[in-house]
Symmetry: C2
Subunit: 399 residues, 2 copies
Amino acid sequence: MEIVSSVAFEMSILLFVALAGYLLASRIHQSAIVGEIILGVIIGPSVLGLITYTSFVKGIAELGAIILLFVVGLEFKMQEIFKAKYAIIALIGVIVPFIGGYLLAKLFNFNFQSAIFVGAALTATSIAITANILREMGKLQTEAAKAIIGAAVIDDILGLLALSFSSEIATGAFSISAIAWIAIKSALFFCVGILLGIYLSKLITKFDKTKISQKYTELVFIIAMMIAFFYALVAESIGLSAIVGAFLAGVSLEGIILRNGKNYREGAEYMGIIFGAIFFVSLGILVDIKAINLTIIIFMLALTIIAIITKFIGCYIPARIQGMSREDSTIIGFGMSPRGEVAMIIALLGLNMGYFQQDIYISIVLMALLTTIITPILIRNWLLKPELGPKNFKFRHND
Amino acid sequence: MEIVSSVAFEMSILLFVALAGYLLASRIHQSAIVGEIILGVIIGPSVLGLITYTSFVKGIAELGAIILLFVVGLEFKMQEIFKAKYAIIALIGVIVPFIGGYLLAKLFNFNFQSAIFVGAALTATSIAITANILREMGKLQTEAAKAIIGAAVIDDILGLLALSFSSEIATGAFSISAIAWIAIKSALFFCVGILLGIYLSKLITKFDKTKISQKYTELVFIIAMMIAFFYALVAESIGLSAIVGAFLAGVSLEGIILRNGKNYREGAEYMGIIFGAIFFVSLGILVDIKAINLTIIIFMLALTIIAIITKFIGCYIPARIQGMSREDSTIIGFGMSPRGEVAMIIALLGLNMGYFQQDIYISIVLMALLTTIITPILIRNWLLKPELGPKNFKFRHND
């Protein structure tokens, strides 16, 4: 019964560490992700060696990444997000960090492929973390918060596209026609995916009224999860990342109205809780602490500074140009700084594909952690101690 | 990105087949499990070859078995089930099929280990299937139905114990002292497990009132799942089956009262929907249809007949002796006949441990399917056409 044993053993320890990660994070007033990754490092092969990155852990972590992005996608409402104003902030807020990350990596003599991935890793803001900070501060309904959420969603999409570009460019297909081809594929995938999603949503709404859905209320949930993995599969097979597909599946399954079937959003969230937590723990397990040296530390710190500065500039300027106040623009700039799951998934993919080694992987994961830790401190200090901020700095409530 | 691809591919196809299995089952008026296994056989290596039993599929299926039994355990209420009357029906209803299965296998010249597993596979009634039939017929609140559910729950536990015994006996430790040792271990595990579960339930209820559970409402769910896998791990490490542990975890986590935390029962059910379905599909994938020959077919049919007759006798007689009517006893006898997940898991474990080959594996899986298909027909015919049943046969409503 050895085989069953290892599943039970690995799941027990992964969930135990996830739980401990939450408690640790809460104790040090950080996001749960921070605690999960730190404890993942500790139980991993480079410290305690309680668990290794077995094929089961790898499979479950990949499952987790897909479900996580599906759940993120489900939380989106398309019409609320896709505003030109936010799109411009998102776009410039993606381009500047991408260039910044790329140049920094080249400056540290990393090769072209690594530099491209470092650039891509700096693009996407972590919606979960930013939204959480704003919620904790009771500022979720302000104009700045809405801009942050809107732009963060769009830059997630742009970040995922940057990942797809990077993967293709890194394989050597770096020509104008190759880039054009990726752009066309991505655009087609998004358009067809959204349209198909609208059609599928109608189909599911109709299916839900049938007798079979009344009898088997779980079917709607199975269908939704199947669509998530199917979109992931299609994204993969046309050369995009699986998580891009899962995210799109979540975004496009918007208009489903259920009368009988189980709540698939809730079901996906429950699965996301377990496998998302395992995903973050697994990121820690993959960190080989022995690989850390002075160069990595310096690069990582530089990367973190570049991540915050480039995102700030890339969002502050377009916000100002579009007529937002200096205060709101500042909040938007800092609010867009935390990197999260997308950056970490990009690091994981690059490592798994062999484009770079532990040096870049560790730097990106720790950069994501540090931006997550630093951003709330920056926002809180600027908001709570206005005398330290720019003149007349004050958080404004929709005025 | 090949690795992610295979997860997305395997999950898509497994869920698609699970869905198709539901639709097929509904069309042929059978339990969803029947459809899932049949289509699992068809997509598996022996027919279409769309998917094989990869280590990921294996891991996910094992995960499914553990979650499935945890969910089954969660549905139990201890005090409703453990009545002496039902326990006697369950006990004799386990012993007779065990002996019947063992003798049949010996008659067909299978070796000792195989025969022990065949016996164990005949012990446990499928609660899910029986309960479903009774629910469909609107007979869930009758005395006979309560006896069936109560006895089916107890014989699940006895069946899981029979599995543990069989595993140990099959490894060669067939002596009185070895059997006594297993009995002591099992009894200890159940007692300590239940007591620990009651303590943990109180602890979780208390934890749920803390600020941290208010902030992270998902923690209670993570803790519950962690306990399920931890019990599975402990069961494994003392030589019982992982699913016995998961089941016990479900049964013992009864008294949790939640104010803040997410509903862990609901969460476990959602996970059980996805991974349970995958588990049944995977059972089909493992069937090598090319291995089927006349001997297997004859053995399988004989096994099915023995399964129904021995369960009928083993439940009818103790029901009658305890003063139940001939009609109720007949319904109980047939109602206890369907075998399900426990039989199939026993078949899977025996195959994975190399105690037997495809011949026994296929026979047990098909026997479980056939009892599931035949039992509703038997019950419906006896109930709806009383003239075909014993004299004066009529279903009685609690009178």
